[in-house]
């Protein structure tokens, strides 16, 4: 593991400090000096995986008051708690 790892904001030092890509920041100047000396930083972490369509649809439904009321009615109809009903629906998906 190298002393630095590339990041969106600039670089991340091994102690966890986030160093912006600013040529007047003394830590970034130190990083550039380290690179000039022949060192190579670790590559940046991959971007987070975007939410799937199903996850986005679920989030939208969770915010819908009609949907939440429907879940409550269905749960009462089947003699389940809301959590039990949601777990049952997730198992079917």
């Amino acid at each position: 593991m190298a002393l630095y790892k590339l990041a969106k904001v600039g670089v991340i030092r091994s102690d966890g400090a986030f160093i912006p890509k600013d040529n007047s920041n003394r830590d970034y100047i130190e990083f550039l000096r380290w690179v000039i000396e022949g060192n190579t930083p670790d590559p940046a972490d991959p971007d987070p995986v975007p939410a799937t369509d199903l996850e986005n649809a679920t989030l939208t439904l969770q915010r819908d008051p009609v949907f939440r009321a429907l879940v409550k009615v269905l749960a009462a109809h089947f003699g389940l708690t809301v959590a039990q009903l949601v777990a049952e629906i997730k198992a079917q998906v």
Binding site: V9, G16, F18, P20, N25
Partner: protein, 486 residues
């Protein structure tokens, strides 16, 4: 005799009838009358030296204006203070002058709010609005040093500086070691021992703190390339205000190793430096040091913006590589002369310093005292931290992620380095205000004014779109640091 202000600068014109003047062939019996009257008039003037009656006779016009028989544009100038003899003695400031008419803005007076026909005479303040008699440094923020009295210690109150490294100490102060010994640095407080700072009687300042360097491991023989220095860097913007003029560096110092020490100054490119010795004769005694610095040459590499303007170095020990002549700016990178003492000669040696001031002019003037809040804000341009008492607001973007914006209370010199010193000390709250532990923290954007944080809670407690907040848990100090030091 008439008022001093009516006397003529032409000797022969002071010939009014005795005792108002000294006419040619005056009776011998009037000589003593003239002398006594002259003494009386001089004494009258001395009794109120702040104002001089130039024998201008004002005629009341309005509540704020008067006229004069003769135009006197030389003495009646906008901005000059005046003393007005009306029903009461009043004070004011001239706000306009046209020919023989003058308008004033009167100071508040409990018994009189306007000029009246009783206005009989007027005296002028000794100092003109366009004065040229008061030293330049009175008119500006004279001390280029921030935290010269060692009152702000945002990072910590004690340090064990590493060798071959720069360690930041009290705000704006740093120590550089490249040698065999070891030292410790701490905040030395008056509350612990009055002798930790200069006394009020000797310094005229009620100091609270000094910066104390203590030798914990000896380096009795300093090799050519070794050094130990206490340093301060003046930012280019601040350096420009006094750059290439005669300056003075003054400070209070107390050491257990007597001898000759040096201060040095260096430019941005380290291709011009200045060295001057000072002698500490008495150990364990607070001594005031004042060092005049000749104007620096403009040759070499200097910075007048947000970079290194001027490095000020208090040399504690240095080998032959960094030794040279004193008293002049030279094209070299020097720290001291060959006379430099070695603070690290004995274990237990100490070097304490406070009240540091760098100002324009060859002479040290009294230490500039700034409000604590202002001093801390000046420090925060270079270093600040988010503490447990502060709250950062944002919103959840998913069940596992919150984005938060933090406006830095003081714009920093440049975009700072952001360090999370204790991620486990952070607490997230979801849209319902329920506190959640933090699993990871990162930054999405860093500028000199604002930081965007990306904080992940443990688990999946968030609802996208809902508000969120994070803060440090009780007792977790120094949660996030922002460092834009030079």
């Amino acid at each position: 005799m008439s008022k001093v202000g009516s006397w003529s600068t032409t000797a022969g014109n002071n010939n009014s009838t005795p005792p108002d003047g000294w006419p040619e062939g005056q009776a011998p019996s009037t000589v003593n009358d003239c002398a006594r009257e002259m003494m009386a008039q001089i004494k009258t003037m001395v009794n109120s030296l702040e104002y001089v009656d130039l024998n201008n006779t004002p005629s009341f016009l309005t509540a704020t204006t008067f006229s004069m028989a003769t135009a006197d544009a030389t003495n009646f100038e906008v901005g000059r203070r005046v003393k007005l003899f009306d029903a009461n003695t009043m004070y004011g400031t001239i706000i306009s002058v046209s020919a023989t008419q003058v308008q004033v803005r009167l100071d508040y007076h409990t018994a009189q709010s306007a000029l009246t026909a009783q206005l009989s005479s007027i005296a002028m303040a000794v100092v003109k609005a366009t004065n040229s008699s008061i030293p330049d440094n009175v008119w500006k923020r004279k001390n280029a040093i921030i935290n010269g009295s060692m009152d702000i210690w945002q990072r910590s109150a004690s340090f064990q500086p590493a060798n071959n490294a720069t360690t930041y100490l009290a705000d704006r102060w740093q120590i550089n070691l490249s040698m065999g010994g070891a030292i410790a640095v701490s905040r030395s407080e008056r509350s612990a021992n009055a002798s930790n700072v200069p006394t009020l009687a000797q310094s005229g300042v009620f100091f609270n703190h000094s910066l104390l360097i203590s030798v914990s491991a000896v380096d009795a023989a300093i090799a050519a390339g070794e050094f130990a220095t206490l340093g301060y860097i003046v930012e280019g913007f601040d350096w420009r205000q006094i750059a290439h003029k005669p300056t003075n560096l003054s400070f209070w110092v107390n050491t257990r190793e007597s001898g000759i020490y040096a201060i040095s100054m260096r430019n941005n490119g380290s291709d011009r430096s200045f060295v001057q010795d000072y002698t500490i004769s008495a150990i364990a005694t607070w001594t005031k040091v004042s060092i005049p610095i000749p104007e620096a040459t403009t040759a070499g590499t200097w910075d007048y913006s947000s970079g290194v303007g001027l490095r000020i170095i208090f040399t504690l020990a240095a080998g032959a590589t960094y030794q040279g002549g004193a008293g002049n700016w030279t094209a070299a990178n020097l720290l001291c002369t060959a006379s430099q003492a070695n603070l690290l000669r004995s274990a237990g040696n100490t070097f304490a310093i406070t009240g540091v001031q760098l100002e324009e002019g060859q002479f040290a003037t009294p230490l500039e005292i700034r409000p604590y809040a202002q001093e801390k804000q000046l420090c925060q341009r270079y270093y600040q931290r988010l503490e447990a008492t502060e709250r950062v607001f944002g919103h959840a973007t998913s069940t596992t992620r919150g984005i938060y914006g933090w406006d830095l209370p003081v714009e920093m010199r440049v975009a700072p380095t952001v360090a999370f010193t204790a991620v486990t000390g952070l607490v997230n709250t979801d849209g319902n205000g329920t506190e959640r532990s933090v699993s990871a923290a990162t930054t999405l954007n860093i500028t000199s004014k604002n930081i965007i944080f990306d904080i992940a809670p443990v688990g999946t407690p968030f609802t996208a779109g809902q508000g969120a907040m994070f803060f440090g848990s009780t007792g977790a100090a120094n949660i996030i640091t922002f460092d834009a030091e030079l």
